[in-house]
């Protein structure tokens, strides 16, 4: 008789607008810091771009990686490799047969710096000056390919693309790889490096970015009545997932379980979430059903909540729709208020936050909520972290993406 393996989290890694690793990022999040800053470049004047700030990495990769690695990898892959090295070390550098080790690392946008730099080179200097590493650097599977090379992960290397849900979908797929018996250990997460003037101009053109140029740290304000769009962030989050049996056998420290994965699509609009929240509700319900956890045991939700006028409330109503009166005891955190929106990295970083929230029984705060939207019908953790109850508790991390992708991951304490 075979049973489906339980999947646990044994390692965490990140590089984010709040810090160059997980401990510094988590401490800054608990302290309610913002990673948003005015951009120190001339893009706004030079290209007439209406948004002059973003949440850039706190520790630039050239402070961490040697020059040949910097030249060989797009920033999106650099961030993923930095986070992977931390996560792998944090997991105790497990000894695992490469054929039983998988990698799933997503990016929402791919190697946009490489793509556009090569295009600039072609136009300025001609086709013969375009470098031979251009394609392996710009392809959206480049980050996961480098992670696979780094660790010798040969059970499979996958890059699932679903815009801002990509990082969470990667973790969901990694869970499936372990449950289906394809791997014992999978390194999974998401990465994004798209703070380039073209995507900034394009997101601004779609009116999804906050234009609070005079006060960047106050710009990302999910559920505040004065919210006016998201703040573009960048970075990567990586988790080491393992079958519980494999983790037990090597005496690994276990942070939490990924007990349920819920996926759905809206099939409604290329950017707008379906107004009734039906797709989001089905994703959360699927995650609950997959885990076997009762709604009553969910005490924390890390919301997708990007600080857009429409999106935040649809999600809040969906959470209420799924959990009903059990939503009353849910501590809701919108950590993009601090990190900005890491796009393909967001779902992975926020899963790390949900895992740490359960591990340390601390729900991180939501900052900048001066005047909560009166239509918000949930208990938002504001300004200071909140202690979560002892015992077996569960958390949900929601991630939604342009295109109508909905991912809910259900995390439980150990």
């Amino acid at each position: 008789m075979s049973t489906v393996p339980e999947v646990v989290v044994t390692g965490l890694g990140a590089t984010t607008p709040l810090g160059g690793d997980v401990p510094s990022t988590w401490q800054a999040a608990l302290a309610g810091e913002s990673g948003a800053r005015t951009l120190e470049n001339d893009w706004a004047e030079r290209y007439d771009i209406p948004v002059t700030f973003a949440a850039q990495l706190r520790v630039a990769p050239d402070q961490v990686l040697p020059r040949p690695e910097l030249k060989r990898m797009d920033p999106s892959a650099q961030y993923a490799v930095i986070a992977t090295r931390e996560a792998w070390k944090d997991a105790g550098s497990p000894e695992v047969d490469g054929d039983r080790l998988g990698a799933v690392v997503s990016s929402g946008i791919g190697g946009i710096w490489t793509t556009l730099d090569a295009w600039d080179t072609l136009r300025e200097k001609g086709g013969r000056r375009v470098l031979p590493m251009t394609v392996p650097m710009l392809m959206p599977n480049s980050p996961v390919a480098y992670v696979s090379l780094e660790l010798g992960a040969r059970a499979g290397a996958h890059a699932l693309v679903s815009a801002c849900a990509s990082g969470a979908e990667a973790i969901g797929y990694a869970v499936d790889m372990i449950r289906s018996g394809r791997a014992d250990v999978v390194v999974a997460g998401g990465t994004e490096a798209a703070i380039h003037p073209m995507p900034v101009a394009a997101f601004a053109a779609s009116r999804t970015l906050s234009t609070r140029n005079d006060d960047p740290t106050a710009a990302s304000r999910p559920y505040d009545t004065a919210r006016d769009g998201f703040v573009l962030g960048e970075g990567a989050g990586i988790v080491v997932l393992e079958s519980a049996e494999h983790a037990r056998a090597r005496g690994a420290r276990v942070y939490a379980r990924i007990a349920g994965v819920g996926l759905s699509a809206d099939g409604y609009h290329i950017t707008s979430p379906e107004p009734s929240g039906d797709g989001q509700i089905r994703a959360m319900q699927a995650a609950l059903a997959d885990s076997g956890v009762a709604a009553a045991d969910v005490h924390h939700v890390n919301a997708h909540a990007t600080s857009t006028v429409v999106g935040d409330l649809i999600e809040a109503r969906s959470i209420r729709g799924v959990l009903g009166s059990d939503a009353d005891h849910v501590a809701l955190s919108a950590t993009k208020s601090m990190t900005g929106h890491l796009l393909g990295g967001a779902g992975a970083l926020e899963t790390i936050f949900a895992v740490l929230a359960l591990h340390e029984r601390q729900a991180p705060p939501t900052i900048n909520v001066e005047d909560p939207d009166p239509e918000l019908v949930l208990d938002l953790v504001r300004d200071k972290p909140r202690t979560l109850p002892d015992g077996q508790v569960a958390a949900i991390n929601n991630s939604f993406g342009f295109g109508g992708h909905n991912v809910a991951l259900l995390v439980t304490s150990v």
């Binding site: 040949p68 030249k71 013969r128 000056r129 375009v130 470098l131 590493m133």
Partner: protein, 83 residues
């Protein structure tokens, strides 16, 4: 304006050093790109592309396989710019 052999060696060493992380002063004429400097074909083509730009020469693909050592490349570039 033509570069001297010494200038070509120094410029090439800088490109190889950037690509590989090896110190520039270890990129000597007798060193083999593959055996001594551990440069794979993709890195070699990167070095060729950057050298073409730096020295304003063409290094045809058919020639690249003949450039076994750093010295071979220096000689070829020197000849190509003279031509």
């Amino acid at each position: 304006m033509a570069y001297s052999e010494q200038e070509i060696l120094a410029g090439l060493a800088e490109i190889v050093s950037e690509e590989t992380g090896l110190p520039a002063d270890s990129v000597l004429p007798e060193k083999s790109f593959t055996d001594d400097l551990d440069i794979d074909s993709l890195s070699m083509m990167t070095i060729v592309t950057l050298a073409e730009e730096k020295f304003d020469v063409r290094i045809p693909d058919d020639e690249v396989k003949n450039l076994t050592t750093v010295g071979d490349a220096v000689s070829f570039i020197n000849g190509a710019q003279a031509a």
